[in-house]
């Protein structure tokens, strides 16, 4: 059971932190081109012992 005072404090802090996050999100560029690579590299088992053993 979460008491109401704590819930009130959470709500106040969430509002403040949420507003700050929205400001940060507004700074992210959105104009990346189709060719601009996503910085995600999927390397199935490349770095693992199992993967290296199979190689």
């Amino acid at each position: 059971m979460i008491d109401s005072k704590l819930k009130q404090e959470w709500a106040a802090r969430d509002a403040e932190a949420g507003a700050a996050m929205k400001e940060l999100l507004a700074r992210i560029p959105r104009e990346f081109g189709h060719a601009e690579e996503l910085d995600l590299v999927f390397q199935p088992e490349h770095g693992t012992k199992q993967g290296k053993a199979r190689g």
Binding site: I2, L6, E9, W10, R13, D14, E16, A17, G18, A20, M21, K22, E23, L24, L25, R27, I28, P29, R30, F32, E36, E37, L38, D39, L40, G47, T48, K49, K52
Partner: protein, 461 residues
């Protein structure tokens, strides 16, 4: 005594491991009740390990490079058989079965684990009083904040409770406390030190690194802990060349870039800190470095990029606990982590693309330079109560941290003097990824040329 001094004294037979450990335990007993740097002291384990080292030396066994030197770990590092809490109620009963890679490497080097150090909860929520342990206090004035999240590491190293400590840095958590506590704090290149067995905050940004009184001690630690670890998916698959031996080679002829715009145009800087930065740059010039002003993207861009990535990744780690036991987090931790729920998948992926773009600019700007200097903390440590109680004064916007978190670049905070009321000033030395040795060399040369390592914090009253 610094670790380098202890190492030399131990090698000459002037001191035993047991004496070093007893000295550390006595300082902790005398000073830590006022500092709250430690959340756990393992006196029994430390004494046992010290006796084993002393016995091994007597029997002529070859000892590791840090033999007999006490160390302590931010309470995120797993320690076999020793509670590891992340300063949180959620992990209050967590006793790992295995050491983290860093813990194991330091023990293998002969260093002696004395205890676990305070952190902001899960390396993000603090300072706060609604946690199982109180926040650490700044040894230069115990009414003041240490910065975080490696708060206990900063306090313990500054007060000389142990010569060697480890912190972690996701968006400034080594360099901030190092700056406020007047010590050397080194965030290595991403992937140089293994994070395996360390409780994460944000996997693509987390770095482990040393926090010590001197750069020389940081270099000694780096030589013990750096190197590839297949158990950490972010670990760089390359050999670490020891940095300690060449640390004193000087900086004559080095080309050092200076990014002044962060502290002169973008972030309000205490005028006394700006003057101490100018003085520090003159010291580097006098030591033979050639300084050139450069310009990087605005600090606010780096900061937005790092925080969006950080809280998206942190939310993914904590989502289940935030939903099922939110009351067990400190209010400040919960609020910060919950912001990650506002980040969409598209936001996160665009921030990752932005990181790549920013890092390309960073690499182009620093090409041909040996190192980069910027401000570090642009204010001195505020009072702790201003941070931990409503309306929660924040120092977040007073640091130059984010560029090097985003770039995964080596960055070092060193002390550049003191304010009129005795609180430390700082500067940051950074480089391109894997220029770790050069960054440490610049910091060491600066420390050797200035008197700031001769002054220790006062005994807390």
């Amino acid at each position: 005594m610094t670790a380098a001094e202890a190492k030399a004294a131990f090698a000459r037979g002037k001191v035993t491991a047991s004496a070093l450990v007893e000295d550390s335990l006595a300082r902790i007993a005398a000073l830590d009740p006022k500092l709250n740097a430690f959340v756990l002291v393992d006196a029994e384990g430390a004494r046992k390990a010290a006796k084993a080292i002393d016995r091994a030396r007597k029997s002529g066994k070859k000892l590791g490079p840090l033999a007999g030197i006490p160390f302590a770990l931010k309470d995120l590092y797993a320690t076999a058989g020793l509670r590891t809490t992340a300063h949180s109620k959620l992990l209050i009963d967590n006793v790992p079965k295995h050491d983290s890679m860093v813990t194991a490497k330091l023990k293998a080097a002969g260093a002696i684990l004395v205890g676990k150090l305070a952190t902001h909860e899960f390396a993000t929520g603090g300072p706060a009083y609604d946690l199982p342990f109180p926040p650490a206090r700044n040894p230069w004035n115990t009414e003041h904040f240490t910065a975080g999240s490696s708060s206990g590491s900063g306090a313990a190293a500054a007060a000389g409770l142990v010569p060697l400590t480890m912190g972690s840095d996701t968006s400034g958590s080594i360099r901030g406390p190092a700056a406020f506590c007047g010590i050397a704090g080194f965030k290595p290149t991403y992937g140089v030190v293994s994070r395996s067995g360390v409780i994460p905050l944000a996997n693509s940004l987390d770095h482990c690194g040393p926090m010590c009184w001197t750069v020389e001690d940081c270099a000694l630690m780096m030589d013990a802990i750096a190197g590839h670890d297949p158990a950490d998916p972010g670990s760089a698959d390359r050999k670490w060349t020891p940095v300690s031996r060449n640390l004193g080679a000087g900086i004559k002829g080095m080309k050092i870039a200076v990014a002044r715009h962060f502290h002169e145009k973008e972030i309000e800087c205490d005028p006394a800190i700006a003057r101490s930065l100018d003085d520090a740059l003159k010291v580097l010039t006098k030591l033979g470095a050639k300084l050139t002003d450069v310009s990087l993207p605005a600090h606010a861009d780096w900061d937005a990029c790092v925080r969006v990535i950080l809280y998206a990744e942190a939310y993914a780690i904590h989502e289940h606990d935030l939903k099922t036991r939110p009351q067990d987090y400190a209010a400040i931790t919960r609020a910060r982590l919950m912001t990650g729920s506002l980040v969409s998948a598209a936001d996160y992926l665009q921030a990752l693309r932005w990181r790549r773009r920013l890092n390309t600019i960073y690499a182009k700007t620093l090409a041909g330079f040996d190192a980069l200097v910027t401000g570090c903390a642009l204010t001195t440590a505020p009072k702790l109560d201003e941070m931990a109680k409503p309306p929660y004064f924040s120092v977040r916007g007073k640091f130059v941290m984010a560029p090097f978190s985003v770039a995964g670049a080596p960055s070092l905070s060193v002390c550049t003097g003191f304010s009129a009321d005795g609180l430390p000033h700082s500067m940051q030395i950074a480089g391109l990824p894997f220029q770790d040795a050069t960054v440490l060399r610049v910091g060491h040369a600066y420390e050797r040329a200035t008197p700031w390592r001769d002054r220790r914090p006062p005994t807390p009253s």
